[in-house]
Structure formats: structure tokens, C-alpha cells
Symmetry: C2
């Protein structure tokens, strides 16, 4: 992977003029990540420092092995939610056991990603279609938002599942903690303003747009610091019962490996696999989009190693599964990052916060972190793709809605598995009812088209049919029935000419069907003929009995077949 | 389904000259079915009379509703094995509870078949490919043969699973019961001889072939009767410890419905579903093959009702799931059956046996029934299809072997589910790595072919590529990468012409890919063009942004596109 030199290419070819961009991007991303990292750690049911740990060593590991110049890895919403959901049945959130399991989950995911990389299985990710991924992310965003209503408003209840939690949140609304709600809701409004219209307003007031955007990005940190100072100063934790993050243990993460036993392995392998795939798909799509903007390329198989190493590092340093995040990577990119050195700086910011400012978070109210999460995941609810698929492809829309509903109603794992199954089923279902066209020659050309849509020439003794699908077990019978009914409508046909331009494969079941069809047609005095068979299909067919029987009835093009058959009775 | 008249068409249009064939076929099948029905009941872990019951009312129900003239329904090997396997974890074979569960399983399967019929879901059966079905039947035959070694040789041991049972049978061989083994093995040799070479020998001795075959078919009954008489006469049950069938309760089946509770339903729905599908696939393929021989047609949706009614009747009359059997249907057909009236006569034979000869089976040794089962299922081990698929299609061979191994090692249900999953995965895997060809025009024609295989004309400024697969989420990235690498090898190309003759569908994921490809190519001064788009694909594409952008770069045929693009820079 790294040939001849242990240092990655970007280190060896580093140019001095890149440094300014890398340093400033690293600083911005690092500061922006502090509250986000704390928030996602709490979402995953882990102590706050775990979120900061997840933004140090994993980032360095990815910088060494990953192939993207600008992808920023760390805790992300969907993967944090999947971690919480995988561990919920196994341990109490906040317990030492829970943390140990989260570390093992990260180790397992990292190991799986590295194995996929070694097997060059980057294509595994292609089994998640865009609509399934979109439905999954939207569903995860809804689940996260609902889960944050309780801390946002300082509510007290126990519940499981998204719909029951939503219901409980609404019914317990009158019992909300006023102080926590005040802090949470005002933080939410402020953050939404900072993310949305504020930079434009600042720009209109005369500030340069990049600077206005930079200020918008640093608002969350200011909000968090202000909220912590406020709660500490007025002692709202004790006087108003406002829940706070509590002590963040100071100091850098220590390394330790907790290897999972057989029982843990049995419970965690499926979540770990799903986390690997989701984290890979999310990271690669972000990395690819950014690389294209600058004409760079990423290598999916190296991304598997980069993310694998990041997750292994996370599992070894007291943290939980990570991925390449969308918003932080975009910030990194637009703040001028040229190489993963930016990540090294952002990791440095985290380390400094941990060493010198850890105690500052003790008074940070959780309602403000909940507000930060809600504002961060709200834009992930993807209505545009839903509208697009509804318009373009109903089957894809069904897969999207099924995944979304599955995630919200049944849970993240069931939702994503259900979505994959639905998208496969749609695929087979469609191929099972292929489009079949009776075709004729467009006058004055050698081109053949559907007789129902174009003015074409036909021959009385030849029924020319184009089957628009690969022939396989799922449609062999349907095609046979369709051919017979077309033949019944053309009783004078003595030749059934199959135009095979759209057939890329004939499986055993379909070969059996064609063979018995040829037999029966022969008994009725109708000869089966074929044209435009592709070479890969022809090579296989030539080896079979049917191929031998048809040998003299196969033409290169439909035009040649038409010309030859016109001369026959 | 049955319009205007409650009687099926074959009754209304019955012709006197068909009667002789129906009567003689009914008699032959009825007599042949007696030992087979007893044997399959024991295989399913049920009292012997249940097998006879399964050959009376179900046959009459199918005669009323089914669409095949010659299909003979009743207990069959694969479905009996599936029944045994579904009930094994729920009740002791031979217990009253076991029988009640078998009846409920038949009711459930019957209900599912009728629902599938009402929903016109005959196509569900197409999800079982020929190789998966072949692997399943071969695997079931091996499982059945191994399970019969114990009664065949009078062995005594407890074991679960096919491989452990085989091992236990071999290690317990020295403890075999000599008398039972003698009867079993000699019956087996005799039956194998009667099934195989005997009719030919009789024919060579001067007997007419049909008569010789008839004698061959009646040998099992003679063997069974002889064995029962022998054991009764010498009292081998008590003196030699030869296991016997025991009392068959005399009299016709009585009707009773035991409806499954919620818990039973949860345990039985999946086996019932698999039994429905297997019984439908097996029955329809036999019925179709026989119908074609006589130029008759069957209606898959009516077959669903026929089989559904047969299973409901079975569940109501103290029996277990049934299907259309291969060997009995072939016998029925070749013995001259013209209509389901033959089935009515075979049901009559069963009823007479139950009323007057039930006690005769009390001394029938189970080792002889085991011999009958082994000889009946041996020919189901299907090496020919394995050889055929190995030669023709490796993917299909993998699905076949996976199904076979799954059935033998894991069990019938797991095996068939695994086979379906493997055949789906092979399908997606193949489409994920599509064949892509750079093409040119065959000189003097309008036909385009692969430049690596044919001598063709090309244009320096146009790269014409034919993608041999539908564009979908599983191959969108792979196709994008392939197109980019072909473009890199043709740096002078200013137009990328995609020939879409093999593309029958573009899903949302692939549309996104094409759209971003068009963008990026445009930035590099390369124009994306398309030709030979099929109308159903074009209609969808026209509604999208990409379709609007491409509008003037889409040609009907590759030839037109080539001519037009040759004139451009």
C-alpha cells in the first residue's frame, strides 16, 4: 500500500505554501468539533471525554493511511446512534461496561474495514443504493432529534423506541424543567440562526463572506462557553435542577485493548458490520465529492484501510466507532485544508482542550448540547431525494420510504437491512416482468424498433421480438408465456426471431426454457432464430445442445436475419 | 374461476371413450400408492393411515379445482421430509400432538396457496431457479435415504442431523437386526430390479412393453404383501424383533378442523410457506411437462387453488401436506389417464383398502417400507443437472451445490432459504461487474460491434461504448470507473457516445452517477452523447434534468449518432 517509503505521499511531497491553509482549517475544525464531540458521546451513551478521544488518535491514523486530502473523521450522528442502539440491550448507558463494549465495537468495525480493504471489497458499499442511504440518514436524523427532546427540555421519563419516546415527550411537556428548556431552546434558536441566515447578514453589514462564515462556525463554541459560564455563575445545576455534563476527566487518552469474548462477538458482529458499511459509504461519498471539486482522486480500497485504522485507533484509545463526517469535512475543505496535516492540527486542538480546559465543561448544561445535536442533524432530513425518486422511479421511492420507516419504527439496524432487502426485491421483481417488443425495420435503415411506436417494415412470415432483459430464473416462465401469446396473435409466422441486443446473460433455468421452447415450436413447424447475440453470451450458448441446434439460425444483426429469412418460405 | 357452472370443464365435456383409460390408470396409481402412502406417513412421523387419508380427499379436491388433467396429488418425499423437519422441534413423532400439528401445517399451507392464487402470485414460484430446486431435491433425497438406514437395518440409536445419523448408522452396523436387514435389503434389491431392468427383460421374453411396465409398477405391492404375510406367518415380530407398522385403524377418515393458536402459528408459518412454494413448484413443473406432451395447457393460478384445496382437504381429514408427485403423475399419464376422474378412482382404491384391508398392514415390516422409500427417492439424486450447470454456468452450479449442502448439513428449510439467497446474490454480483465494450461500425453496415473482436471502423473524436447491463445502484460506480479509464486510454476523444441497446433500466443511483459524469466531462470539454435508448427508458430520462441537458445529443441509432458526430470537431 505504501511502497518504498513509510511516510504517505502527502508528507513526502508537502509544499510550504499549503501550511497556512492546513493550520487555519485545523484550528477551525478543532474548535468546531469540541461541542459536537461531547454531544455525540452523550448520544452514544458514553462519558463526554470519549467524544474528544474519538477526535484525536482516529484522526491521526486516518491521516497516515487514508487517501482523501480533506476528509475529517471523528464521531458522526448516524454511527453514534448505531452505537447506542447496538449497546442498548447489552449494558446501562454511562456504565464502565458500556464504554468497554463501545471500544470493542470500534475495534471490530475497524478490523472488518481492514479485512474488506485487504479483500478489495470496496464494491460491497454498492449494495446500499442512494435512496436506501438517503432514507437511512433521514430516519436516523428523526430518531436522533426525538431522542434529544428529553435532555433539551429537561424531561423525566423512561421509554424505548422512537414513536413511544416522541409520545412520552409530548405528554410530559407540562413537567419540563423551565430553566433547562429556556437554555436549550434559546441555544437552539441561536445556533439555527448562526448556521443559516447570520453569515449573510454579517456579509451585508460589510464583513467579508469568508470571515462571516468563520464567525458563524465558531458560534457553537461561544454558545457552549457562555452556557457553561451562566450555569456555573448562577449555580442553576443545584438551584434549578439543570442537568450538566459533569466532570470531564482531564488528560490525554491512554491506550488499552479490551478484546471481545465469544458472547460479545455474537452480539456485536452484525452491528459492527452495518457500522462498517455505513461509515464507509458515508465517508467515501463525502470524500469523493470533495476530491472531484479539486480534480483529486480517492482510492476506495485505501479508504477502507484509512477508516479501519481510524476505528482501531478509536477502540484502543477509549472511544467509539467513527466515520468521515459530512459537515466537518466541508468546513475543513472550505477553510483551506490541502492535506491531512489539517487533521493533525485539529487533533492538537482537542488534546489541548483535554489537558487544560476539561474542567470547564463540568457546568455545561446537557440541554445546550441537545440543542447543538438537533441543529446539526436537522439538515440531514432529506426531502429532496424523496421528491426526486417519487418523480423518477417508484421502486426506489418504495425502498427509501421502507428504509426510513424501518429505522424510525423498528430501529436503525432493522431499517437498513430492510431497505437493502426491499431494494433487492424491487430489482428482481422488475426483471421478472420484462418489457417485450415486437419490432420491425425502420424504412431506409438497418435499425429495428417497436412496431407500436414507430412506422416500420415487417415480414409476414417472421415474428421479430426484442426481449428487454437478461434471461434468468425470475423471468424465464413469464418470457415463455409472452412469446407464446405473441405467436398466437401472428398465426402466419414461420420464424420466431429473437433479437438479443438487450440480453447480457442466459442462466441455466432460462436456457432450459429456450431449449424446450425450440422443441415445441419445431413440432408446430415454427423455427426459432436469433440475432444480435453478444459475444460473451454466444460463447456460452455455443457450448450447449441448443446452440448446436440453432447454429445456422443465428445472425450477427437483425438486418441480416431479416434479409435471409425474407427469402425463406 | 369456475364461471356459470359449478362443475369443472372436464366433467361437463366428459367423453365416454376416455373412461377406460381413466379407470385403469386410477386402479394402477391407487394400488401403487398404497405402500408409498404408508411409507411417506412414517417418514413424516405420522400413523400409517394418515398416508392413506392424504391420498383420498386431497385427490378429490384437486380433481374439482386443479387445471392439470393428469397430475396425481398425494404425499411426496420432499414435502413429507419438510413436514417431519418442521414438527421435530415441536412434538414427539407418533404422538397425537404431532398429528394435530401436521394437520395444522397442511391447513396453513393450503390457506397460503389459496391466498397466493387469489393474489395471482403464481410468479412467486419463479424465485426458485432450476439449479436451486435440483439441489434441494437431491439434498432431500440424500437426507431421506440416510434417515431410512435405521429402519432398513433395524438399528437402535438416537441422533439428529443427517451427517451424525449417517455416522451413527455406520458405527451401529454390527448391531443391526439380521432378520429386519435381510427383509429390507432383499426388498430393496427386488424393487430396484423391478423399477430398472425387469420390464426390459420381460419384454425381451415376449411380453408387450406396456404390460411389462405395468407388472414392474405392481411389484412394490406384491413385495409389501409378501413381506407382511411372511412376518405374520413366522411371527418374526416377536421371535426376531422385526419392527412392524402395527395396526392401521380401519375406516374412512373423519373430518375435523384444529385451528392453530398464536404460538403454533409463529412456529409454523415459515415451514408452511416453504412447503407451499416447494409443493407448487414441484407440481407445476410436473403438470406442465405432462400437459405439453399432449398439447394441453395448465393455468398456474388455478393450480394454486387446486393444490390449496388439496392441502386444506388433507388438513381437515387427518392427514399432512401434499403435492403433485412426479413418479405417480407419470404413471397416471402413461397408464392412460385423460381426466382427473382417474384420481377419483385411485381415491376409491385407497378407501377400499382402508375399509377392508387395514388390518393386513399390522405385520408389514418397517424395513420393507424403508426399502420402498429408498428405491423411490434414489433416482431423485440429480447428477445430470449438476454436470450441466458446472459446464454452462458456474454461478448456477454454486447455487445448486450451496442448496444441496445446506439441506444435508443444516436442514431442509435452511438449505432452501440459503439457496434462494445465494442465487439472488449471484444475480446482483454479476450485474455489479458488467461487460463494457468499446465498439465501432462493421464496414458496409449500420451494425456496431466490439473493436477487440471484429474489424470495425471508428472515429478519432468519438469514443463509442456499449454497456451490457442495466444501470443500477450495484454497478453505477463500477461503470463510472470503467468509462473514465476507457476515456483515459482515448485522450483525443471529444465525444463519449453511450450505446444503450442493452440498458433496460436506469435507477436513481445510476441517474445521479450519469448526471455528475456529464458535469465533469463537460468541464473537461468532452460531450456525453447517447444512442439506441429504448422507449421505456427514454420516457423516464426525458423527465429529468439530465434528459433536458442531453436532449440534442441523443440519437435513435448508433449509426445516426456516428454520422452526426463525425461532422463535428
Amino acid at each position: 500500500m505504501i511502497k518504498g517509503n513509510l511516510l504517505p505521499a502527502w508528507v513526502r511531497n508537502y509544499r510550504r505554501e499549503w501550511l497556512a491553509g492546513d493550520v487555519s482549517a485545523g484550528f477551525v475544525v478543532g474548535v468546531m468539533l469540541v461541542p459536537q464531540s461531547l454531544a455525540y458521546a452523550l448520544l452514544a451513551g458514553l462519558p463526554p471525554q470519549a467524544g474528544l478521544y474519538a477526535s484525536i488518535l482516529p484522526v491521526l491514523a486516518y491521516a497516515l493511511l487514508g487517501s482523501s486530502m480533506t476528509l475529517a473523521v471523528g464521531p458522526v450522528a448516524a454511527v453514534s446512534l448505531m452505537t447506542a442502539s447496538a449497546l442498548a440491550p447489552l449494558a446501562m448507558p454511562g456504565s464502565t461496561e458500556h464504554l468497554a463494549l463501545a471500544m470493542q465495537l470500534a475495534l471490530l468495525s475497524g478490523l472488518m474495514l481492514c479485512i474488506f480493504g485487504a479483500l478489495r471489497l470496496g464494491m460491497l458499499a454498492h449494495f446500499l443504493s442512494h435512496p436506501v442511504m438517503s432514507g437511512f440518514i433521514s430516519g436516523a436524523a428523526v430518531v436522533i432529534i426525538v431522542s434529544q427532546l428529553k435532555p433539551l427540555l429537561g424531561l423525566q421519563f423512561q421509554s424505548q423506541g422512537t414513536l413511544p419516546t416522541l409520545l412520552a415527550s409530548l405528554t410530559h411537556l407540562p413537567a419540563a424543567n423551565p430553566a433547562a428548556s429556556l437554555l436549550g431552546v434559546s441555544a437552539m434558536l441561536l445556533l439555527a440562526f448562526a448556521r443559516g441566515p447570520m453569515p449573510r447578514h454579517l456579509h451585508r453589514l460589510g464583513l467579508a463572506l469568508p470571515r462571516a462564515q468563520l464567525i458563524g462556525r465558531l458560534v457553537p463554541v461561544m454558545v457552549v462557553v457562555l452556557a457553561a459560564v451562566w450555569v456555573a455563575h448562577f449555580d442553576w445545576h443545584r438551584t434549578q435542577g439543570v442537568a450538566v455534563v459533569g466532570a470531564v476527566s482531564a488528560g490525554l487518552p491512554s491506550l488499552s485493548a479490551v478484546l471481545p469474548g465469544a458472547e460479545t462477538l455474537a452480539a456485536l458482529w452484525l452491528p459492527a458490520l452495518l457500522i462498517s458499511v455505513v461509515s464507509f459509504v458515508e465517508s467515501v461519498s463525502v470524500a469523493q465529492a470533495l476530491a472531484r471539486h479539486r480534480g483529486e482522486r480517492i482510492t476506495p480500497d485505501r479508504e477502507l484501510f484509512g477508516l479501519g485504522a481510524a476505528n482501531l485507533a478509536s477502540g484502543l484509545s477509549g472511544a467509539f466507532p467513527v466515520a468521515g463526517g459530512f459537515s466537518r469535512s466541508v468546513v475543513n475543505f472550505s477553510a483551506g485544508a490541502r492535506t491531512p496535516l489539517a487533521g493533525v492540527f485539529s487533533a492538537g486542538v482537542m488534546a489541548l482542550v483535554l489537558m487544560f480546559a476539561g474542567q470547564g465543561f463540568a457546568h455545561l448544561p446537557t440541554s445546550v448540547l441537545a440543542a447543538a445535536i438537533i441543529v446539526a442533524v436537522w439538515p440531514l432530513i432529506d426531502i429532496a431525494t424523496l421528491r426526486h425518486t417519487l418523480h423518477y422511479d417508484r421502486g426506489d421511492a418504495i425502498a427509501l420510504i421502507a428504509t426510513f420507516a424501518g429505522v424510525v419504527v423498528l430501529g436503525v439496524e432493522q431499517g437498513i437491512l430492510g431497505g437493502v432487502i426491499v431494494s433487492f426485491a424491487v430489482l428482481v421483481w422488475r426483471s421478472a416482468r420484462p418489457h417485450i417488443a415486437v419490432v420491425g425495420r425502420v424504412p431506409g435503415t438497418e435499425h429495428f424498433r417497436n412496431i407500436e411506436r414507430y412506422k416500420v417494415d415487417t415480414l409476414a412470415n417472421v415474428l421479430a421480438i426484442r426481449v428487454d432483459e437478461n434471461l434468468f430464473f425470475g423471468n424465464a416462465d413469464a418470457i415463455e408465456t409472452a412469446l407464446e401469446s405473441r405467436l398466437a396473435a401472428h398465426p402466419q409466422a414461420r420464424h420466431l426471431l429473437l433479437i438479443m441486443s438487450a440480453v447480457n446473460r442466459i442462466d441455466t433455468t432460462a436456457l432450459d426454457m429456450l431449449s424446450s421452447l425450440e422443441d415445441r415450436l419445431g413440432e408446430r413447424g415454427i423455427r426459432l432464430a436469433m440475432a444480435e447475440i453478444k459475444s460473451p453470451v454466444m460463447e456460452r450458448l455455443a457450448k450447449t445442445d441448443l446452440g448446436a441446434r440453432l447454429a445456422k439460425r443465428i445472425w450477427l444483426s437483425a438486418h441480416e436475419a431479416f434479409t435471409a429469412l425474407a427469402a425463406q418460405p
